[in-house]
């Protein structure tokens, strides 16, 4: 069953397109990572799916229903982000009690165990928590609700490495025990890629890539060696990233559609072949220019001397 279907979803703020025709489908009980640079439209897209924003045009279906202002979607979905507003007059324990009343599948034993493990105090108020503690508490809400669709938008903001690690682990364990559809957006792809089944890469308000993580790892390849030689091999290809190493050497990242034969020849011709990690690849794919920040600096230098 498809939990989320989106056809040409757009969202316009004034004249800027935050989303520019997003089309994808997400199957039931998959963990999908939503990856993209700041301002790519991840949060807007997730909020439309959560029914908090209304799409400007296009067709969005969650559990086969329009999500905006929809009670069924609201009851079966939980949206966790770092801007979560919880009632200021209730303390943490009371908030958990309220959540238990609202969510059918609420797992109070998990909630209490996590609550104790992360040493939150029941009498504290959400607004007084530190950034990391807030995120931790929100995460407990998100996991314990056991909603068929669980959306985490940047859930690890402010968490230290230890808590992040614990969070990923408990999320995976709980997912294995109670499979459900999880959307997880994060800047730390290297930390979450082992959890994810699929990756949805958003760039400039569009879906750039949507494929299993395993495929993404082999999707691109890095070549390094003499400049002329490399240019020869990649002249018909789209170069995602390039970086000069010393005077004559070059490192490039291109799509891996070489045949085994070609790869052998590349190695024989004296070039080194490297796998490209998914997080590096995602960074290269979403970069505006090939050379990255180096270009900015080099351009300033060349302007000065010209």
């Amino acid at each position: 069953m498809k939990v989320i279907e989106s056809k040409e979803m757009t969202k316009v703020y004034g004249k800027t397109y935050a989303l520019n025709g997003i089309t994808f489908e997400i199957e039931e009980n998959k963990i999908t990572g939503i990856i993209g640079r700041n301002g790519a439209g991840k949060t807007t897209m997730l909020k439309i799916i959560a029914g908090l924003f209304k799409e400007t045009s296009g067709e969005v279906r969650v559990f086969s229903e329009k999500p905006f202002n929809n009670l069924t979607v609201s009851a079966n979905m939980i949206f966790i982000d770092d801007g979560m507003i919880l009632p200021a007059s209730l303390n943490l324990k009371e908030i958990l009690d309220e959540a238990e009343r609202f969510y059918e599948n609420w797992d109070s034993s998990l909630a209490n165990r996590l609550f104790d493990y992360f040493s939150l105090s029941p009498n504290q108020y959400h607004s007084n928590l530190s950034k990391g503690m807030k995120s931790t508490f929100n995460m407990i809400l998100g996991l314990s609700a056991k909603c068929p669709l669980t959306i985490f938008d940047e859930p690890t903001t402010g968490m230290d490495a230890g808590v992040r690690h614990d969070f990923y682990r408990v999320m995976l364990k709980d997912y294995l025990a109670y499979p459900r559809t999880i959307l997880l957006s994060s800047h730390h792809l290297e930390e979450i890629e082992d959890l994810l089944e699929d990756i949805l890469l958003i760039k400039d308000g569009r879906v750039h890539l949507h494929l299993p993580v395993a495929d993404l790892k082999e999707w691109a390849i890095g070549l390094s060696g003499k400049k002329d030689l490399i240019n020869e091999w990649v002249k018909t290809k789209k170069v995602f990233h390039e970086k000069s190493i010393g005077h004559n050497n070059l490192y490039v990242v291109v799509k891996n559609d070489f045949t085994i034969r070609e790869l052998e020849n590349i190695t024989l011709s004296g070039l080194d072949v490297f796998p490209v990690s998914s997080s590096d690849l995602c960074m290269y794919l979403t970069q505006k220019t090939k050379g990255g920040i180096d270009d900015v600096y080099n351009k300033a230098k060349s302007d000065k001397y010209s």
């Binding site: 009980n29 909020k47 029914g51 908090l52 924003f53 209304k54 559990f63 905006f68 202002n69 929809n70 009670l71 069924t72 609201s74 009851a75 079966n76 979560m84 507003i85 919880l86 009632p87 200021a88 007059s89 209730l90 009371e94 908030i95 309220e98 959540a99 009343r101 609202f102 969510y103 059918e104 599948n105 056991k146 068929p148 109670y178 499979p179 459900r180």
Partner: protein, 248 residues
């Protein structure tokens, strides 16, 4: 994992009880305001005095009027408060849609009005008790709790209705304000216009509005008026809230 189909009534019920707990600070302001109002009422709302055959008589009128007016303003303020972003977003921490949120707010306002109406009338009783014990005033025609219980109940009901009317008014103003901040200026302008716009008979528009609500001798007509106006105001609020995005 299977999908649950929630029923609107069920969600509204849950939201209602959640809101009564989450909005607990409004009770504190109610208590503070009513104490203040009791203090202001201590000198009576009206008085007359005279000499009759060597007897000096000083008559003071004590009533819960000031307390009820304060409670009405409290209702207006509390209802406007729950339309602000912080409170609206509280809904979206849990299961909700706009209709269920508004319905729950309506029930919350009804509950607050009954609490406000009941406590303001009882504060009136407290006021008289305080006067009885603290001064040597002789009280006549005191609270009708014992002698005329149905009148006592009626006064609670009508006080509650006044508070409720102000609640839905505050709710609508709050909603309008969320859409456009200039609305307060427009409302103030309307109010001032109403004060100075003379109508036939030597009064002005505001006085007529006031009379419309206050000087109704028929209890039945009064209820009808109140219900009609409250429903009208709340419907406007519903329409306005449908123009808003759910949560930022």
């Amino acid at each position: 994992m299977s999908i649950t189909k929630p029923s609107l009534t069920n969600i509204v019920k849950k939201q209602y009880s959640y809101k009564l707990r989450a909005y607990r600070q409004v009770y504190n302001s109610l208590i503070a305001l009513q104490l203040l109002a009791i203090f202001f009422s201590f000198n009576g709302v009206g008085s007359m005095s005279g000499n009759w055959g060597g007897i000096h008589l000083n008559i003071n009128y004590y009533s819960a009027d000031i307390i009820i007016i304060f409670t009405m303003l409290w209702g207006l303020n509390s209802a406007a408060l729950i339309t602000t972003k912080a409170y609206r977003f509280d809904d979206f921490a849990f299961v909700t849609n706009r209709l269920s949120g508004n319905m729950a707010n309506l029930y919350v306002m009804l509950t607050l009005s009954v609490i406000g109406g009941l406590t303001s009338i009882l504060s009136g009783v407290l006021l008289k008790l305080l006067i009885y014990y603290s001064t040597d005033v002789q009280i006549f025609n005191d609270t009708r709790l014992m002698s005329e219980p149905n009148l006592f109940v009626t006064s609670i009901l009508s006080a509650s209705m006044y508070v409720f009317l102000f609640c839905v008014l505050g709710y609508m103003i709050g909603m309008l304000f969320q859409v456009n901040k200039m609305i307060l200026v427009a409302l103030a302008a309307l109010f001032i216009w109403g004060l100075f716009k003379d109508v036939s008979g030597g009064s002005n528009v505001m006085v007529n509005v006031f009379t419309f609500f206050v000087s109704e001798s028929s209890l039945f007509l009064f209820f009808i008026k109140m219900m009609f106006c409250s429903i009208l105001l709340f419907s406007i609020s519903l329409v306005i809230s449908n123009r808003m995005e759910v949560r930022q």
